[in-house]
Symmetry: C2
Subunit: 338 residues, 2 copies
């Protein structure tokens, strides 16, 4: 399956998003501000210019939602910066929690400055997001509504993260529990990105909430597909190993599905009880996942949530043009092979 | 020196503060909400009722400021809850960063649930604070002004914390740098507690800012005195060891003062270069601190910032009654012997 091309909205909004983010973070030599610039990909470890930023999907959704509800992208620029800052706050703390020393081929913040300072750096990014949104140049009732929406998503994201970490020490996890975790950890912020943009542009709570629910479902579909690619993706295309999730004994969706299967479950549990997994152990886990039909089940779940997203989108009072743009981003997230 | 009696404002506001905090945190069985109740002292590790909460100084300052500027305590209840939540967020992350396994004779969050979940628990308390303030039942322009003030304090607090951690690996720290750290880590939130209360009650930025600056100076005086007590306090009265700061090689104000002294500096550095300090090492450090005159210098710095606070307070347009109440809390913080 070929990669869908990058949706035009991601390209179109990119310069405005980068400007809004740079304005939110600011210049100056403060080590926390420098760390924020590093995390956002503008500088390398030594403060030299670099361009390692992510795709900025959440800010693009925020600006798109503002335009789709009849406002302007300008209304939502502070929101676009804020959702990206929250996303990066969560990545910095995630990397401490998971002891991941690299992200996108660069050392993570804790790998550079230690865990204590990485906790500070994450806290700082969250505080920057709040400041940015509290100062959005729109009427103050829109500002507080958007802040409340973003903050609720942060709370759901943290709940998802708590759940994810609690899974590490559990032998059985139901698919429903896994999806509840993903709804918090991935869905909440994707959904809030749209909701915040819509609220800043003056949309009513019902339309803004509808856009949020679309984003949440896309988040679920995205994660189910991403977990599928983590085992059955082509490393040539995804750019990442398809054995590392298993080697690190991660409880991704295929693993959760297999854990509930009568013959595959014990095989996965046995392999995951080892300190280090050999290549043979990994191959045995993949075989067990396939015996449990986890590949098909992942794709089915991704399709189901994508279909649910489509229904939600069709029910919203949006001009066809904006519906198509949103669909294109949804497809880009869910149907990509990398 | 006898302990000043507990200021009446702390007693008077306490029930309203607890109610506002309970409303902000909510009930329910979510592990993050339960952890918040534990951190705030309402429950023990097993969820049984307990009463281990702190003095709630920051919320009392918040409500006092609201009344002092001519508003009502009700205007500022959400702010009172928010500043206490932020304070507890910082304690939870601090304990992870410092690897402190106990606080007020109870296990810290990371000691109970691990570092990863403690990071989540701290993040959650910060998010709760933002939600609480974003929903304050006052006009939305007051809400956003208060949020902006609280959030700026959070950023300064994190800067102070970053600086404090960076001191651990530095051989020399100037007294000015130390005070800059304290202004962020301790002063910013104490100051913002007043500012947030004043803004929620409708005060103009100048009066609210004046109250904030008073709180910052009180914070500096408090910390200088607290660092003094950490070495020369009477453990019978303070309830904590006066050797543990040194045993843990903490760079408190007396140590920072001594590090800059020609003969005391090398002695402290030598002791602090050891992995474990013996009782003799600790005695040698205390002798060096006294040789450097650090005891007198700490008290002088506490007095200087207290005097500065007094000047700031005198310059504010407040009725004498409120000025006296604020002074009483300031004295309680700075002149206590425990």
């Amino acid at each position: 399956m070929p990669n869908p091309s990058v949706p035009s909205a991601l390209v179109r909004y990119r310069p405005a998003v980068e400007d809004a983010l740079r304005a939110a973070v600011g210049a100056g030599n403060d080590p926390l501000v420098r760390t924020a610039r590093y995390v956002l990909g503008w500088e390398d470890e030594s403060g030299r210019p670099s361009s390692a930023g992510g795709k900025r999907i959440r800010p693009a959704l925020c600006l798109l939602a503002a335009e789709a509800v009849g406002g302007t992208a300008d209304d939502a620029l502070a929101g676009a910066a804020a959702v990206e800052l929250v996303h990066n706050f969560s990545l910095v703390h995630d990397d401490v929690q998971d002891r991941d020393a690299e992200r996108h081929h660069r050392p993570t913040v804790w790998a550079l400055f230690g865990e204590a300072q990485a906790i500070n750096a994450g806290d700082f990014l969250f505080a920057l997001a709040v400041r940015t949104l509290a100062r959005a140049p729109v009427p103050s009732d829109r500002r507080t509504a958007a802040l409340d929406a973003l903050d609720r998503a942060v709370m759901e994201m943290i709940r998802g993260q708590w759940l994810d970490i609690s899974f590490e020490s559990r032998a059985e996890i139901s698919v429903d529990e896994y999806l509840e975790m993903v709804r918090g950890k991935t869905g909440a912020l994707l959904g809030a990105s749209l909701e915040v943009g819509a609220l800043l542009a003056g949309a009513d709570a019902s339309l803004a909430g509808g856009l949020r629910r679309w984003g949440e479902e896309i988040g679920l579909a995205f994660q189910a597909h991403d977990d599928y690619l983590g085992v059955w993706g082509d490393p040539e295309q995804t750019g990442k190993s398809n054995t590392s999730d298993i080697a690190r004994r991660k409880k991704t969706l295929p693993v959760v599905i297999a854990l509930g299967h009568p013959s595959a479950g014990p095989a996965v549990r046995e392999a995951y009880s080892k300190r280090e997994l050999t290549a043979d152990d990994i191959a045995a886990v993949v075989a067990a996942l396939e015996r449990a039909g986890a590949d098909g089940r992942c794709r089915e779940l991704a399709r189901r949530h994508e279909a649910r997203a489509r229904e939600l989108l069709d029910a919203l009072a949006l001009a066809p043009h904006w519906r198509e743009e949103l669909s294109a981003i949804g497809e880009f997230l869910v149907e990509r092979s990398s």
